[in-house]
Point group: C2
Chain length 244, copies 2
């Protein structure tokens, strides 16, 4: 089977690490990537510090096809993502002439140094434009730099998703009314026969309908159906409550 496009997400956020703000961007991106057939391999949440951003982005940029950053883009002291990505790639931060022109036109006499910081990019950044975006998305090498504000993060991810969409993952779900201990052997044997299957087993406590939710995934729909058939044969009689 073909190798999936791989991705990693770096969340830059003291506010997440200190529990003050819930990180909803990670799950949103995870779902969008899954739907686009991209395999998200790592999510890393780090503090707003240039050196840490640089080291994390450098490592992920080398190890995965795509890297996304969330947060740390803006005019205040804790917005150091651009500087961090620049350090990761050993490049300069430069003021983008086209963006600066746009900001000066937009703000007129109200323009300030803080506002012009939105025109600072890593040298060599591609501006990804999309009809639905108010402001372009920054792409440098394989790194998409996204803002942390959830509404804007979602808008940008949705706008750029088409650029990396590939073959989808096919998913089957089986709900089982047995404890994991009673079905563990059936799962093992299914994987022995279908080693490429992505098989998940998620117990649900105090649920009247089912005890475990099994997820089967593959990019090859035929392989998936064969693996599903094997699993259904191996599960204890009467165990399956429902399938999706």
């Amino acid at each position: 089977m073909a190798r999936s496009t791989t991705a990693a997400l770096v969340v830059i956020g003291n506010e997440i690490l200190s529990g003050k703000v819930e990180d909803t961007n990670s799950q949103f991106l995870a779902k969008q990537l899954r739907a686009a057939g991209v395999s998200l391999e790592r999510i890393l949440v780090i503090p707003d510090e240039i050196d840490i951003i640089a080291a994390s982005v450098r490592m992920f940029s080398a190890d995965y096809d795509l890297v996304f950053t969330s947060g740390g883009v803006g005019p205040t002291h804790d917005d150091v993502t651009i500087a961090g990505v620049a350090a990761a790639l050993q490049r300069e931060v430069v003021r983008h002439p086209e963006l600066e022109k746009g900001l000066r036109e937009f703000f007129g006499s109200e323009v300030t140094d803080s506002k012009l910081r939105f025109a600072d990019v890593v040298d060599g950044t591609e501006l990804v434009e999309d009809g639905n975006l108010r402001f372009p998305t920054f792409l440098v090498e394989n790194i998409y730099i996204l803002p942390g504000i959830p509404e804007i993060f979602r808008e940008k991810v949705s706008a750029i998703r088409g650029r990396f969409t590939t073959d989808p993952f096919y998913l089957r779900i089986v709900y089982v009314n047995e404890q994991e201990t009673a079905i563990a052997d059936s799962l093992h044997r299914t994987l022995d026969a279908f080693p490429e299957l992505l098989l998940g087993s998620y117990p649900k406590l105090k649920n009247p309908e089912y005890k475990v939710r099994l997820t089967l995934e593959s990019k090859d729909p035929e392989y998936l159906e064969k693996a599903l058939g094997q699993l259904l044969e191996l599960l204890p009689p009467g165990a399956v409550v429902r399938q999706e």
Copy 2:
């Protein structure tokens, strides 16, 4: 000021990376650690693979005072956290005699190999008992191994929290009715005068009451009040809507 106890969290979860399940354990732990005065420095989400768990846990165990793992504990094929932590520390997985005895007593003639897997621990594991827990928490070196099921994760974190509670962080919140661009300079200058202050700036879109939420934190309440005074002096007149 005294150095904080540091911590890192490793979330073992294909279900999180693929967007199928929302990770609520991270924010719960982040809040609990903050309240306990512990500084959470990293959250890393990785796939259910022994080698990746081993490498991540080994790195974090060396770099931080405390490491927590979430998920991958149980009887099925994807429950490989114990094996991963064992590999991280170059130790064996052993069946804990006391736990095995308890499981055999509890299950009687219903006991199976799968059920006895709950007695498998990394060699040298300390069983952290607590009156409120149905099952002990595993601690090996500086690594707490926690299950991914949110109800049990929360129960265990709450039960063990007293073990690492230290001086708390003191927090002040200032709500401001100005854009970040208008207050960035005030924030910079406050930090120049109070470099140890933990200062966060979080814009809120389309909010009628305020535009930015500023958080000020320190373990030294006197330092915090002085820094707050400085910030309030520097902010534009009339900018502050409310304080907490």
